[in-house]
């Protein structure tokens, strides 16, 4: 996999390539990567689908009244996201719950799968997170105009502020509205990329006998932190989607 750093025969010093784990490569053979090529992206996204099927379909297939472990986790995920949508975006946002659940489950499963050694972290790529963020941005904007018509513009016209300040605030609001997909996507990809790269740097230091114990401790600590970050970033992505959805459904401040 891409995660294995290629030890360079040419140089003798401490060589590490923390970014090599993010390389996209074809699964079969080597050649140019077209949009349809089956790559490690395909493999790890497919594995996230497999994990989803195991958790949400196989785990719940017994429909037990008293749930087992897998069913408990599936129900926990359902209840967690459903409550988040209801609390943050309101009751009328519940029809959009499956979409937000899709995003949350994909991100959280990809993040956790990316923590496996030698794995490829699909959510560490800005192309992946940007597509999701732009999708949320477009969907929320369309929903805002469909539900409220021209009234959606009241999101930018803050009626509670003094009249003199309103034009300036409107400018700020419009800029922040269009910056949303950027921050939304870079936050997730940046977090995932940075954590994995840091682990990789520490791992390279493990080759030096003198500092290897420290390196192992540091990797362990970073891994624990990354486990936390993997969940929190999926949660943040989902909750921000809910916040944007709330703005679209209720643009009045």
């Amino acid at each position: 996999m891409a995660g294995t750093a290629q030890p360079s025969e040419k140089s003798d010093g401490l060589v590490f390539h923390p970014m090599d784990q993010f390389i996209v490569e074809p699964l079969f053979g080597s050649g140019p990567i077209y949009w349809y090529t089956v790559t490690n992206v395909t493999l790890w996204m497919g594995l996230s689908v497999v994990a989803l099927v195991l958790l949400m379909l196989v785990g719940t297939s017994k429909r037990a009244l008293v749930p087992g472990r897998a069913q408990s986790v599936g129900e926990l995920a359902y209840g967690f996201v459903h409550k988040m949508v209801e609390d943050v975006a309101g009751r009328d946002a519940v029809p959009y719950f499956p979409y937000i659940m899709t995003l949350f489950m994909f991100i959280v499963l990809s993040n956790f799968l990316g923590l496996l050694p030698m794995s490829f972290t699909t959510t560490s790529h800005i192309a992946v997170t940007a597509v999701m963020a732009i999708g949320v941005f477009l969907a929320v904007t369309v929903i805002g105009f469909v539900k409220n018509g021209v009234g959606f513009f009241s999101l930018f016209w803050i009626s509670s502020a003094p009249l003199a300040l309103r034009p300036a605030l409107t400018l700020i609001e419009i800029i922040s509205y269009f910056v949303r997909p950027v921050s939304h996507s870079i936050r997730l990809a940046g977090n995932m990329m940075a954590g994995h790269a840091v682990i990789k740097v520490f791992a390279a230091f493990a080759g030096v006998a003198l500092i290897s114990p420290l390196s192992v401790v540091a990797i362990t600590a970073m891994y624990a932190l990354e486990t936390l970050v993997s969940f929190i970033q999926a949660y943040v992505f989902a909750i921000l989607t809910c916040v944007y959805l709330k703005d679209a459904l209720h643009p009045h401040h």
């Binding site: 891409a2 390539h17 993010f22 349809y36 719940t60 359902y78 499956p98 560490s124």
Partner: protein, 181 residues
């Protein structure tokens, strides 16, 4: 991966198979990522919205209704148990008062029987006493007359032994008056 030493596979990977710059910014790969992401998201969405989410919602609703019905049943059973306890206490109180009533009744009856037995015994005793008194009086009378006779005889014998002569009438009168006095 099989990057030979001097050949650049793409503009993002150098001859040693390492990334040039940030792989995240490599435009050659983005179309591939976007395509597979869309496929994945559509598959996940279909799985979730068609099967998983309705199933979990159904399971949760079933559980909620089961819990509700169990709670109702337990409430009903509880009220039944309270009812049973109340009737039990009622029966206990009834039995207690019945028992004390019976006790009082039998006590009174026994008292009455005792009373009648006592009075009957008293009557019998008094009859016996009067009979005894009569017989004692009889015996006493008999004894007195016997004593008088013996005294008269003795007195006559003594008088005759002394050589005096006395008629029986005088002696008996004298004895009778002496005995009375």
């Amino acid at each position: 991966m099989a990057a030979s030493t001097d050949q650049v596979v793409s503009k993002c990977i150098d001859g040693y198979g390492s990334a040039i710059g940030m792989p995240q910014l490599c435009g050659d790969w983005m179309a591939n990522q976007v395509f597979w992401l869309v496929v994945t998201l559509v598959v996940i969405f279909i799985i979730l919205s068609r099967i998983a989410l309705p199933r979990i919602a159904e399971v949760l609703a079933d559980r909620q209704s089961t819990i509700t019905s169990y709670l109702a049943t337990s409430e009903e059973l509880k009220s039944k148990a309270e009812e049973a306890e109340r009737s039990y206490v009622q029966a206990l109180n009834d039995a207690r008062s019945e028992a004390s009533r019976l006790l009082d009744a039998s006590k009174a009856e026994m008292k009455k029987e005792l009373q009648s037995a006592i009075s009957k015994a008293d009557a019998e005793i008094s009859v016996k006493v009067s009979e005894s008194e009569a017989s004692i009086a009889e015996i006493r009378k008999n004894a007195l007359s016997s004593i008088e006779k013996v005294a008269k005889d003795t007195a006559k014998e003594i008088v005759s032994a002394l050589g005096a002569k006395a008629d029986a009438k005088t002696i008996s009168t004298a004895v009778s008056s002496k005995m009375k006095g």
